[in-house]
């Protein structure tokens, strides 16, 4: 028996199951040198493999657009020419392919654009497919599972997970990858417990050995003894009973014992997120991150593209959909727009500052939001506000867009509310003044904490100083809530803190009206609200 502890966790769940080692097939190239006469044959081998790869990708691309891009690259003549050249230099087809793929991947990995760097992984993925075809082997396939297992792998890529049957994948453990990598996000969406970044894991395990994992605590037990197995069995039963209890509460309105009805909302980035969260019984979307729409495209999304997304979201959550206007810059960039290098990106050209400068782009978004407001109850929220002038200018632009729509006789919600994120020290200090101009407040604790404490969110060395429970942060939150209530506007919170079980009782005490968080936190927060005096 051996226990491993993992520091960073991003999912929940307790599983005990046999291991399925998802080992990479042996894709090392042959080192054989080819003679003059064999060269034509090697090229033929490559052509055949290419045909096979293109056929595979063609059928895969019908289901998933990642593979449409792979198809285009696999068919590109540069790759073929490069392989041919290497065969002419006496390499065998496998070696030639290996070298060509490495060279190409290196070119992309060295680019200064993050989006392009990620394409290196695509190229390696394609390389694997070619190599398997050349060697006549089948890549391991998660689609062929027929019993419940914990999948253990170095890392899992889109081409590994595309055929995965979630019914039999009870848990996932990987050696590489972070909590925001492809497989982490996928597992979270499918509600599969996952732990990532466990160094040296593969050497500890053999196929079929029993492993217990607690995704919440970050604990992995390899080959547990009977005691440990029983302990896990009890934990699992208790966890499932609690889950059942929480799920049963979903129909209960979140009202405190003293009768205060709290609004419980989710944070979402797409209609897809909302659809997945429908069952948790949220009152609405307290934060719709419109930047995701911008980040996943390869161009600034048009008014029509945005309208379609917002309308769909508004229809899914008719009670409330709070759309935050483009919040880009800082740690978030766009694949198709080059941001200048900045000394302090978090204090730089970001969020509302970009929107107010790129007015045409901003107005496209505002028109799309207004048009969608006809189909539900939408609120507009401006991020990163530091001055009344910014808020006024943004509101004026909304009014201008309204007028344009009136001219064209396009319907929208005339009384649409316009609020702001309170996440800068300036907006905290001037909260009373802002409360007169804004229709609602939403406290963004992630940025507010880093700005108030002058502690960089991403700096590992001072991670312990990043504390949303710091007296200064708590005092700021109290001040914001009081300032809002004095003017009769609602105050919500959409940062991580709103879903933190330790913070919820404090925030309820301060009078916070709305809690908005990732959908997985709703069940736990509802329980706290129901038990609050």
């Amino acid at each position: 028996m051996k226990k491993i502890n993992v520091a960073k966790t991003a999912s929940r769940g307790i599983v005990a199951a046999p291991v399925y080692l998802y080992e990479e097939a042996d894709l090392a190239p042959s080192e054989a040198v080819v003679s003059e006469q064999e060269k034509a044959l090697e090229k033929e081998k490559f052509d055949k493999a290419k045909e096979e790869v293109l056929r595979e990708l063609e059928s895969l691309s019908a289901e998933n657009e990642i593979f449409a891009a792979h198809l285009e690259i696999a068919g590109d003549f540069t790759l073929t020419e490069n392989v041919y050249e290497k065969i002419d230099a006496s390499m065998n087809a496998q070696k030639a392919l290996h070298m060509a793929v490495e060279e190409l991947a290196e070119i992309f990995a060295a680019m200064d654009d993050a989006y392009m760097r990620e394409r290196a992984a695509d190229i390696k993925d394609i390389g694997k497919r070619f190599m398997a075809a050349l060697k006549g082997i089948r890549l391991p396939d998660l689609g062929s599972l027929n019993r419940g297992v914990i999948v253990v792998a170095r890392d899992l890529y889109p081409s590994d997970t595309v055929k995965m049957n979630p019914e039999f994948v009870l848990g996932i453990l990987t050696e590489e990858g972070g909590v925001t990598s492809h497989v982490s996000i996928l597992a979270k969406n499918l509600d599969i417990p996952i732990l990532v970044g466990i160094k040296g894991l593969l050497t500890e395990l053999t196929d079929g050995v029993i492993v217990c994992m607690d995704a919440d605590l970050g604990e992995v037990v390899i080959d547990p003894d009977e005691d440990e197995q029983n302990k896990y069995q009890e934990k699992k039963v208790a966890y499932e009973a609690r889950r059942k209890h929480l799920i049963a509460l979903r129909k209960t309105e979140p009202v405190t014992k003293s009768g205060r009805r709290i609004s419980l909302c989710i944070n979402a980035g797409s209609p897809e997120d909302i659809r997945k969260a429908m069952e948790v019984g949220a009152d609405g979307v307290g934060l719709f991150r419109s930047e995701l729409l911008y980040m996943e495209k390869d161009h600034f999304p048009t008014e029509e593209e945005q309208f379609a997304v917002y309308r769909e979201a508004a229809k899914l959550m008719p009670k409330e959909l709070t759309i935050r206007t483009l919040d880009i810059g800082g740690d978030k960039t766009l694949p198709y727009y080059t941001f200048e290098q900045e000394e302090n990106p978090f204090l730089g050209w970001r969020a509302i500052r970009i929107s107010l400068e790129m007015k045409d782009m901003f107005k496209e978004q505002l028109r799309a939001i207004l048009r969608a407001s006809y189909f539900g109850h939408i609120r507009i929220m401006f991020p990163m506000i530091i001055s009344l002038e910014e808020l006024q200018e943004a509101r004026t632009l909304v009014e201008a867009c309204k007028e344009e729509l009136r001219q064209k006789e396009i319907p929208f919600d005339e009384k649409i509310e316009m609020g702001m994120m309170v996440e800068t020290p300036a907006s905290v200090i001037l909260a009373e003044k802002f409360a007169k101009e804004a229709d609602f407040f939403s406290i963004g604790t992630n940025d507010l904490t880093q700005y108030l404490l002058a502690v960089d969110r991403g700096n590992k060395k001072i991670a312990a100083m990043y504390d949303s429970f710091h007296p200064a942060v708590l005092a700021a939150i109290r001040h914001i809530i009081e300032a809002g209530h004095k003017e009769g506007i609602k105050v919500g919170m959409c940062g991580e803190m709103a879903g933190d079980p330790k913070a919820v009782p404090i925030l309820l005490e301060m009078g916070l009206d709305e809690f908005s968080m990732s959908a997985t936190g709703i069940d736990y927060v509802r329980e706290i609200i129901l038990e609050h005096p």
Binding site: I73, F77, F108, Y115, L334, P335, Y336
Partner: protein, 87 residues
């Protein structure tokens, strides 16, 4: 041989999608096409070549076509780039 200089106007430069549009159009040309950027030249019939060159917005590129259909090929490609390559 005919040639023409153009400035790339795509907001994100010749990224995945515009690169794909350009490569597909260049593929249809019968003449030999060369794209020169700075002191580098590349064959724009390959999407990988175009993407690997990481051509940003505002960069001046030169298109050269050589072959029987050079005049019309050059005109087609220049018009396509000027129109924003489907963006």
């Amino acid at each position: 041989m005919v040639s023409k200089k153009i400035v790339v106007s795509n907001p994100s430069g010749l990224h995945a999608r515009p690169a794909s549009v350009l490569a597909k159009a260049a593929m249809k040309c019968d003449s030999d096409v060369v794209l020169a950027v700075g002191d580098k030249t590349l064959n724009p019939k390959s999407i990988l070549n175009i993407m690997a060159a990481a051509i940003k917005k505002g960069t001046e590129i030169e298109l050269r076509c050589d072959g029987k259909t050079e005049a019309e090929d050059l005109a087609t490609l220049v018009a396509l780039i000027e129109s924003g390559l489907g963006e």
